[in-house]
């Protein structure tokens, strides 16, 4: 049983450890280059290394495609999987949940921030149309969705969020080269903290390279990557807002 958790890559025989690797090296494409490619593969814990392809990339560079057998195993049971918890509700259930839980419409404000001009992702989450057959937040009864579009400065986003009394801030980041998105997202968290507003909003981030784990690490409440839709985000948000007691019956009577 405990053995069952040990996992290795699989080619055509269980535990054969077969892996495909490709990379370039800043060395000419010759016998030495091939030896270097093998050494790289060995450094990756591969044995039985086959250099299936080696080709020059122009002067002083070369490219390799390598197959090999990974000698390492990983323990499946020991893996920590960071996800959003329970499975998401669908749109109708979310709308019912909102009606039953909150006394006022929930306000979501979103933007693609910094110099990032990619809006397709945030639009997919926020706009009527949604994506891949899943409507966006704008279409949810009980949610007011305000999409500021792209290239929005962190400061402008925060000002607007305060101005409209947002409950949830949504941030999209697509350009990740040289960790652009990390810098930009970190700056937003720092801004919130500097203004003493970190607990004022539920702050959710998303984009092709965003995971829930990364979001948590950076100090956000949640993160959503590819294949996530409005209902995933809304599910998470409504439950989190209820937990915080935002706009719930209880809170309002208490006040």
């Amino acid at each position: 049983m405990s053995n069952k958790k040990q996992v290795r890559p699989y080619g055509d025989t269980l535990h054969d450890g077969k892996v495909q690797v490709s990379f370039s090296l800043p060395v000419p494409c010759d016998a030495k280059g091939e030896a270097a490619a093998k050494a790289i593969a060995h450094a990756m814990h591969l044995v039985d290394v086959v250099v299936a392809e080696q080709r020059p990339l122009g002067k002083g560079y070369s490219f390799y495609i390598v197959y090999g057998t990974l000698t390492q195993t990983i323990d499946l049971e020991a893996l920590e999987v960071i996800d959003h918890g329970e499975t998401a509700m669908n749109k109708t259930d979310i709308e019912t949940y909102i009606r039953d839980t909150f006394v006022e419409p929930l306000v979501f404000i979103g933007a693609s921030t910094g110099t990032d001009a990619h809006t397709v992702g945030i639009d997919a989450i926020m706009n009527m149309k949604g994506i891949a057959g899943h409507y966006g937040l704008e279409r949810y009864a009980g949610i007011k969705a305000i999409n500021l579009g792209s290239q929005v400065d962190n400061e402008v986003l925060l000002d607007k969020a305060l101005e409209v009394g947002a409950d949830v801030i949504l941030i999209s980041q697509t350009v990740t080269q040289k960790d652009m998105h990390i810098r930009n997202l970190t700056a937003f968290v720092e801004l919130l903290e500097a203004e003493g507003l970190r607990d004022r909003f539920l702050v959710i981030i998303g984009g092709p390279r965003i995971s829930h784990a990364l979001a948590k690490e950076l100090g956000f409440d949640a993160g959503f990557g590819p294949g996530k839709f409005a209902f995933d985000v809304a599910s998470f948000a409504v439950k989190a807002l209820r937990e915080r007691g935002v706009k719930t019956h209880k809170m309002t009577t208490d006040k």
Partner: protein, 522 residues
Amino acid sequence: MYLNLDSRQINRCRAAARKIAEDVHHHLEQYSTVAVERTVLRLLGIDGVNRFDVPYPNVVIDHLKASGVLEKGAAFAMAHAMNTTRLTPQAIAEAVDAGTLDLSTCMTQSAPDMTRLLEAFARVRAAIDKQSAYRRHHRINPHDKPLPDKYVIVATGDIYEDIEQALSAVDNGADIVAVIRTTGQSLLDYVPHGATREGFGGTTATRENFRLMRAALDEAGTRHGRYIQLVNYASGLCMPEIAALGALERLDMMLNDSLYGIIFRDINMQRTLIDQYFSRVLSAYADIIINTGEDNYLTTADAYEHAHTVIASQFINEHFALKAGMPSRLMGLGHAFEIDPAHPDSFLLEVAQAQLSRQLFPDAPLKYMPPTKHMKGDIFMGTVQNALFNMVTVMTHQDIHLLGMMTEAIHTPFMSDRALALDNAAYVARAMASFGDAFEIKPGGLVEQRAQTVLNEATALLEVIEQEGLLATLEKGRFAGIGRGRTQGKGLEGVFQKDALYANPVLDTMCTALKEDRPDEQ
């Protein structure tokens, strides 16, 4: 291989597009922009930055603006200053920066003698002419080659690394290299200076970067016995300035399309349309091919539903270019292979759309863009999508073949991504070079029907735009589904109404030269 199309319908489209372009031109003729004026200064020879890294053209224009005399134009001010001080434009700019010269004090209320100014321009013009002559001697226009020119991008952020990547691409068969710009640059209202090593998703466009890459490509081109074309972006808030730097440093193509900036960068439409006119005159003058950005519409809107917006926009861009004196052989009109691969018969639909552009603009060096939106992290499936794209490119005789990268959804290209993309394209081109000798489009068949439908929708759209005007169209978000207000967006503050005394002899000279030197192309 051809589609049966009605030439009267095509003429109808052209007539509408001419009207649309003329309306815009008429409306904006009375305005100029800070970018245009800075470009005039650059074309007089002003270059470099002050000790705060502010480019001298900005220093001077800011000074004129602060002095409230910008409305008469940079040429007006500079001509007066040159006549008064007998200094060179550069010296004048430096003096302004040092605070030792106030240009408003040099001015009178009448039009200056432009002789000195035109002499200064003539010197810069000679440098541009020299570059154009060299290019004319070495470049074969992509449109005149039997197979498409292979166009790749480099985007490391570091010009020296870009050069390594570009050289590798040339060694592997690239014909055209574009240095993608760092993500924020189009919103900067100045052109950065010097060699740079720190961009994001691209490398800063600077004159020095242009020069370094140009030299590297010339050297590689000589080694391979083919001229390698260099591309950058005359777009964003510095559109005409970059066009000028490109002309001086012998760039061969420039992405140049206001509609892109308006829709995707939220640049104010009035600002960038004015800038575009100047840029295109300059590019036409310097024999630089422009690339338009219709392909981008299909990355936001659905490529099947909105195919006609591409065609309509190509017609409009053609007429904007014609207005600027640009011949067809420099009009790299854009389109793209972006239909969802889940769509039945997507390949055939792509053929229809690509062949339609081909036939509508038979003399233009069309720029055909690869799948991007529907590329996912599966690099193997991406390789197949690119192969199908490459086939359509060859079958329909596109000219500028922007290569798709298998890692499109992951990162800006690695050196190996580009090499594999070049192999893919070369194999496909070799495997089906003679497609047109072997196959015909079936009359009334699926491809022809689809092309006709797209043309019909484009015609209808052009007629609507002809009625409502382009600015209203942009407000309504008819392109890419993104609407922009006419007085919103970045850079509006840089637009000003021309004074009665406003003059731009630099622009006028180029326009005249275009008319006189190439009457057959006008």
